[in-house]
Symmetry: C2
Amino acid sequence: MRADARKNYSHILAVARDVVAEHGADASMRDIARRAGVGLATLLRHFPTREALFEALLRTNLDALTEKAGELETSSSPDEALVSWFREMVAFVQSYSGVVALMASAHEDPDSALYATCAAVHSAGARLLLRAQTEGTARADLDGVELFGLMSALGWLVGQPGFAPREDHLFHVMTSAILTNRPCTDIKKAA
Amino acid sequence: MRADARKNYSHILAVARDVVAEHGADASMRDIARRAGVGLATLLRHFPTREALFEALLRTNLDALTEKAGELETSSSPDEALVSWFREMVAFVQSYSGVVALMASAHEDPDSALYATCAAVHSAGARLLLRAQTEGTARADLDGVELFGLMSALGWLVGQPGFAPREDHLFHVMTSAILTNRPCTDIKKAA
DNA sequence: CCATTATACGGATCACTGATCCATTTGTCA
DNA sequence: TGACAAATGGATCAGTGATCCGTATAATGG
């Protein structure tokens, strides 16, 4: 790749990160190109589709999440690790609104550029889950994909207008569905 | 309203219901108009925005759900009623993909055409929830909005590619987060 | 039953989107 | 410096939702 092309590539990616953070996953490609100071054609040659752009955009974040899962695996108790990672995943999904759908379809399509990255995230989560399940603190009838799904769903929900203020509580409800040792802490028990 | 206009209104609505069921919430307005045999301008005069069209489309479904909640309130046990209604809500959200976001924003905006309808659904769900909470079979720290949110999130999730086959299981996980008397039925309990 | 009038209709058009083409510019290397 | 491949971006295309306005028609009064 020529030097100027490489520079544009990085610059576009940086600008795209800002614009997407501002306008969500359906930001205008023209807008991104304009703000990057390049023509639309240039943007679209570097990233032929919207998915390709997101792929590049998300790869670093997803890799970081995968790595984070590995760290938590050794630094925290199984259920604490799972909850911490869950929280980070939710925050991630929420911050790039509209991105989960992309990841879900990427996970279904082995040819997708995001496929490997998604699979890594899934299996990283699955390992954290398995560790908690072995200890008996997570419900046994879950797998990594479902864990990912629940995280995505929560991230999606708290990204919807009106639900952001309830994020902490909804997070608590959702984790108590996954973990077995913190069942409904603040609930008036019957019997 | 003139007779032909009224006829067009109903016809467009019926066609829109089909098209949306086929192509989801971002179906082309031109497409709907074409299939209804009217000009795009006519469609857009009857329903100035996409939201206006969905408003009309969803009102009947939502009213039906509200009514259903009332029926269940007298015909089933509190937790059975809640679960049944939960299931219907999830199916509804899933069938009209992309619609929840619309309802969420409608619920935030008192001027929205869907506001009253949404509020009715929320309070109908809240009543079912309260009944189960009084009996002690639903966790007490939930309100109608959160119940609606969890239903929406699940509906959204099972509408994503790859998660549809897991609908039943995810439904089970989610309900066990809400109910207290069926905590993780198929799980190896710790201690 | 016909003439008038208000109403509804829809083709044409606009601004916008992502995608593609290709003449021009620019980096690179001999 | 010269030549060539590579990268660029303006122009253009089909698609979207929205708007305008001349035309067709339903409703109404004579």
